[in-house]
């Protein structure tokens, strides 16, 4: 069912969401050489023309909503997302580190500048308003403090205390490309649960940030994934 739902249009996955992993694999006999890993650790922040991006965004809105708020819970919201993150996902679809029956085709036709412009457009849209998170929930505990006994680090370490992406104060910290980490707040529980499940099962490692999430999610069990997904949706 997940596969069917994902056969929609413009689906930019979050770093902790990997619809593409559920796409059918090509037949073994015709398997192309895997694309080299997309290493984003030294990725500088990208810039694009939001207006030019808006002109090309109509097809994206079919799934992700005209204002970047997804029309169904299996699609991610794009509004207010990190531009660099959005650009890298498009690039990964185009270059083959990720594959999806719809997104691979959509991205194939985009130039590098198109991808930057689209990313700038959706990043400039207002994000979905905050909800009413339950600070006492298991999901809140995992998000803010992790579970050291199970080897789970807190999500807020990279995604910000309110799930709105790394805080601006971190941007000056050395070495880490914080701008490649996505905003999580307001994504649907269905979507987050699906992506965490993929990471838990060792999928989606074509982008170097996927290696980080693989380590985070491997110690989450199904109940924890559901609790986290519900909490993130309420942020």
């Amino acid at each position: 069912m997940i596969r069917q739902l994902s056969l929609a249009a413009f689906a930019l996955a979050l770093s902790c969401a990997a619809v593409a992993q559920d796409a059918p694999a090509p037949a073994a006999s015709a398997a192309p050489k895997p694309a080299p890993m997309l290493d984003v650790r030294a990725q500088p922040p990208i810039h694009g023309d939001a207006n030019a991006g808006a002109a090309k965004a109509a097809v994206c809105g079919a799934c992700h909503g005209p204002q970047g708020i997804a029309i169904a819970p299996n699609f991610p919201n794009l509004a207010g997302q990190s531009a660099t993150y959005l650009y890298l996902q498009l690039k990964a679809f185009k270059d083959g580190q990720r594959s999806d029956p719809v997104m691979t085709g959509q991205a194939a036709a985009l130039s590098d500048q198109d991808m930057r412009n689209l990313a700038a457009h959706f990043a400039a849209l207002p994000a979905k308003p905050a909800g009413m998170p339950d600070a006492a929930s298991r999901g809140a505990q995992l998000f803010h403090a992790g579970d050291p006994a199970k080897g789970v680090p807190p999500c807020q370490g990279c995604h910000g205390p309110a799930g709105q992406g790394p805080t601006s104060a971190w941007q000056g910290a050395p070495d880490t490309a914080w701008h490649t980490f996505p905003r999580l707040a307001g994504q649907s529980a269905f979507y987050i649960g699906q992506e965490l499940g993929d990471y838990h099962h060792g999928k989606r490692v074509g982008v170097s940030n996927g290696k980080v999430m693989q380590g985070v999610a491997q110690n989450l069990d199904e109940a924890d994934i559901q609790a986290l997904a519900a909490y993130i949706q309420s942020l």
Binding site: P148, D175, S208, V212, G215
Partner: protein
């Protein structure tokens, strides 16, 4: 594994599988496991298991990582995912087996080449590493081992569960070669009974006979093997209380070059000097128990440490070939040829320590530690001598006194005031410390530390059989050469009632109190300043000063204001002063303090020159400066340089005058990627030491104050220590070293190149006021004295080149070569390549080779398991 001794110690209540015990990693600590690991084949103990990482340091960070001061971290090894033990199993395993052949060519028996390794030609099992991991539960089992020979091998088994418990057992043999060029004349090498060969007569051989025996003696290697094994474990006992227990045992077996005195054998003195070989047969058992708890407020650590030393050969008997002859020319009635050393006794050590610490309001911390320890030995004491018949000199044939003693009065335990040592030293420690960081730009700390070493050992050298005091000197030989110098005091015998000899041990000890106050300031974003003041108050027992105080201040500055560079500079000044200096606090330990002592007619000779200040107690001004600059060039290159200097000046006319050391290092690191790394290092240090001393006026050109009323005068410039007898020593050393490493990963082939150089130079120069300062004052001896000993030099070069080739994913090979050369010159060994026999002296060790060169080639098959 033939000597494997794994001693089991149960830790009750070890809760296998307990959740979140927060057991910290005890790797490389004595709490769990063994610090020393690896061998010459692989000093790190796990290099063959390491494959270079290709993805860098972290998925979060790009490029090379540096420490906060800009020094690059080495790239970590690649983690191997392992192979599942069975389909669906949570357990995975990975391993490596190395088998191959090593070929040595050249001076493979050279002492420095074999100092800490036992390379051999032929098949080498090499290395076996095997690891099992359960990624779901965090459990693991790990084995590593390597073997070069029966004397050079290690094995270690670890198992546990991350965050819960761990167990470790290990075994290793490590060789330590002292000499490969020794020619001892004795039979029984390695035992505690050295006997002369049939060609020599104990106490009656001529120098020619001894030289012939030495020339015929077979070449031997002198050294020992350290065999260490142990078992340790650590885990949660109850609700956050974590316990650890470790026991290890080290056996040291072998030989070591040793002495064998029969009094002086220079000039006209007909004693005997023997360089013997003593046995080494030690075992040391260490026990460490700890309990710790990190509570919400307090943190607690309790530790017991015990060490138990046993010497299975605690004495050495040796026969001396030399015929002794008294200096007065009367018939020699004493035939002293049997010598004995009492070697290290069995002893026990216990220490209990408690540490408490807690957080304080105002971003502070408080910690306090208290410890009590005791060292004890109560071994059976050896009799003062082993001779039979008489010792001493009988001068009655020339109308003099009879200075002989029956050996039977002294060669029995009945000659001792007590049968066992009953020795004991207790220690106490209290250490309290607070530190606060009231703001992000300022912090301060204060500490108070008190330590006591209380020596409770009291021994009186008294022979209840004879009523005499003292120690028979030099196995009885000294008194058998110089009349009266037997080493005893006898209040009832005029021959000995003025002998001022040692009769008691000196129970050295001290109390030390140290106060420290310091602060750190962050000056802006790029500079920080630290100041620490220390006051050290020491009260030594039975020493020349009852109080020694040292004030020390250290200023340190860290700056990143100079571009990308990190600069660390520090300066330290210390001023040591103390109470009045008593040049002779030891009278109470000599027979002069005993009832019945009669002052000599001309008074007691001065104990030593009153103007001397021993270096550990004398007034001293000390300065230390250090500058470290680390400069990163781009992402791949780092250059760092260090310059340092220490200066000590001692305020005394006699004794150590000054020490100076100056050094510099330069290091270059280049890590353009995980595939390629290179580094180079240069270091040099020079040091100087000046000593001033004075010889006493023992006769002739020296002033002849001994035996006259002037012998009681301890002052420099007096009759016993005239200015003309002053002499000065100037020591100079220079040590230098250099190194270069290069590694590159070509894909299927990984290459590594290493070069190391080490060199040292030592010069001992001297001057003297007049020939009165010399031991030999004849014209030819004075002319030959010169102004320095010959220089000592040592150099070594090592070049290594290795290739790791992967044939398949599992099969590979390591090919390596090593060329080591060295040169060595030490005047102590001059002439020994010709003969080891010099009149009444016989030596054993010819010393290291002047030049050596060894080539080693090896091929090892690697099989990944």
């Amino acid at each position: 594994m033939r000597k494997l001794q794994l001693l089991l110690l149960a830790l009750p209540g070890l809760a296998a599988g307990s959740a979140a015990a927060q057991v910290a990693d005890g790797s490389d600590t004595m709490r769990v496991g063994d610090m020393q690991y690896g061998n010459a084949f692989d000093p790190r103990g796990w290099t063959p298991m390491m494959a270079g990482i290709q993805e860098g340091f972290s998925w979060l960070h790009a490029g090379m990582k540096r420490t906060p001061t800009g020094v690059p971290y080495p790239y970590p090894p690649q983690a191997d995912d392992g192979t599942p033990l069975a389909p669906g199993s949570d357990w995975t395993y990975r391993g490596l087996l190395q088998l191959g052949y090593i070929h040595l060519n050249g001076d493979r028996n050279a002492e420095f080449f074999r100092q800490y390794s036992d390379w051999k030609n032929g098949f080498a099992p090499g290395y076996l590493g095997l690891m099992f991991d359960n990624r779901r539960t965090g459990e693991y089992v790990e084995f590593r081992g390597s073997r070069l020979s029966a004397d050079d091998q290690y094995y270690r088994l670890r198992a546990g569960k991350y965050g819960s418990y761990r167990v470790e057992a290990f075994y290793r043999d490590m060789p330590h070669t002292v000499s490969t060029n020794a020619f001892p004349i004795w039979n029984g090498i390695g035992s505690n009974q050295l006997t002369l060969p049939a060609s020599l007569t104990p106490g009656g051989s001529t120098p020619a006979q001894i030289a012939a025996a030495s020339a015929a003696a077979p070449r031997r290697t002198i050294g020992l093997t350290r065999t260490r094994s142990g078992l340790s474990l650590e885990g949660e006992l109850y609700r956050g209380w974590i316990g650890s227990a470790a026991i290890s045992n080290e056996e040291r077996k072998g030989t070591r070059l040793w002495g064998g005195p029969m009094f002086f054998a220079f000039n006209q003195l007909q004693g005997g000097i023997n360089e013997t070989v003593r046995p080494i047969d030690f075992s040391t058992t260490d026990v460490n128990l700890s309990l710790r708890k990190v509570g919400k407020v307090w943190r607690f650590v309790g530790t017991y440490t015990g060490s138990f030393f046993r010497n299975h050969k605690d004495y050495l008997d040796y026969q001396s070939p030399f015929q002794l002859q008294n200096v007065v020319g009367v018939p020699q009635v004493a035939n002293i040829y049997q010598g004995e050393f009492s070697l290290e006794p069995d002893n026990d050590y216990h220490n209990l320590r408690l540490d408490l610490s807690r957080e304080l309001k105002g971003n502070g911390q408080f910690s306090v530690a208290a410890a009590w320890g005791t060292m004890r030995q109560n071994a059976a004491l050896r009799p003062p001598v082993t001779c039979t018949g008489l010792l001493g000199v009988d001068m009655t044939p020339i109308g003099g006194p009879n200075y002989t003693l029956p050996c039977a009065d002294w060669n029995t335990p009945a000659a001792l005031s007590q049968r066992n040592a009953n020795a004991r030293i207790d220690t106490g420690l209290f250490d309290a410390r607070v530190n606060f960081h009231p703001s992000s730009s300022f912090g301060w700390h204060a500490g108070l530390r008190w330590y006591r070493e209380d020596n409770k050992t009291r021994y009186l050298a008294y022979n209840p059989q004879t009523g005499q005091y003292g120690y028979i000197s030099e196995n009885g030989s000294q008194g058998s050469i110089v009349p009266g110098e037997v080493g005893i005091f006898d209040p009832r015998n005029p021959l000995y009632w003025s002998s001022n000899v040692t009769v008691r041990n000196v129970p050295y000890g001290y109390d030390d109190t140290l106060f420290e106050l310091g602060g750190d300031w962050q000056l802006g974003r790029r500079d920080s300043l630290g100041v620490v003041y220390t006051f050290d108050h020491n009260e030594p027992k039975y020493r020349e000063r009852k109080r020694v105080d040292e004030h020390r201040i250290k200023i340190s500055w860290v700056s990143r204001s100079l571009g990308e560079a990190t600069l660390r500079a520090s300066y330290e000044y210390a001023r040591r002063r103390g109470g009045p200096y008593n040049y002779d606090p030891y009278a109470q330990f000599f027979s002069e303090a005993l009832p019945g002592f009669v002052d000599p007619v001309n008074g007691l000779p001065a104990h030593t020159v009153a103007d001397m200040r021993k270096y550990d107690l004398s007034d001293r001004d000390e300065s230390k400066a250090r500058l470290i600059v680390t400069y990163p060039f781009g992402d791949a290159t780092t250059v760092s340089a260090t310059l340092y200097g220490n200066r000590d000046r001692y305020a005394t006319p006699i004794g150590r005058q000054d020490t100076r050391s100056t050094g510099a290092t330069l290091q270059w690191d280049w890590q353009p990627s995980a595939r390629t790394t290179a580094s180079a290092y240069l270091g040099i240090e020079t040091s100087h030491m000046g000593v001033s001393n004075v010889g006493d006026s023992d006769g002739g050109a020296a002033g002849a104050a001994l035996g006259t009323p002037g012998q009681t005068n301890p002052k420099l410039g007096g009759p016993l220590y005239p200015y003309g007898n002053q002499w000065w020593e100037f020591d100079r050393e220079r040590n230098s070293n250099a190194g270069f490493t290069l590694t590159h990963d070509f894909g299927r082939v990984r290459a590594d190149l290493n070069y190391n150089y080490s060199g040292s130079f030592g010069h001992v120069g001297y001057s003297y006021a007049t020939i009165g300062a010399l031991a030999y004052r004849e014209a030819d001896a004075a002319a030959a004295a010169g102004n320095a000993f010959p220089d000592n030099k040592y150099r070594s070069n090592t070049l290594e080149l290795g290739f790791n080739v992967d044939f398949t994913r599992r099969l590979g090979m390591r090919l390596f070569g090593r060329r080591e050369t060295g040169s060595f010159t030490d005047w102590h060994y001059l002439g020994f390549d010709q003969t080891l026999s010099y009149g009444q002296r016989i030596y054993t060790d010819k010393g290291p080779q002047h030049h050596y060169g060894v080539t080693m080639l090896g091929a090892m098959f690697n099989v990944k398991l």
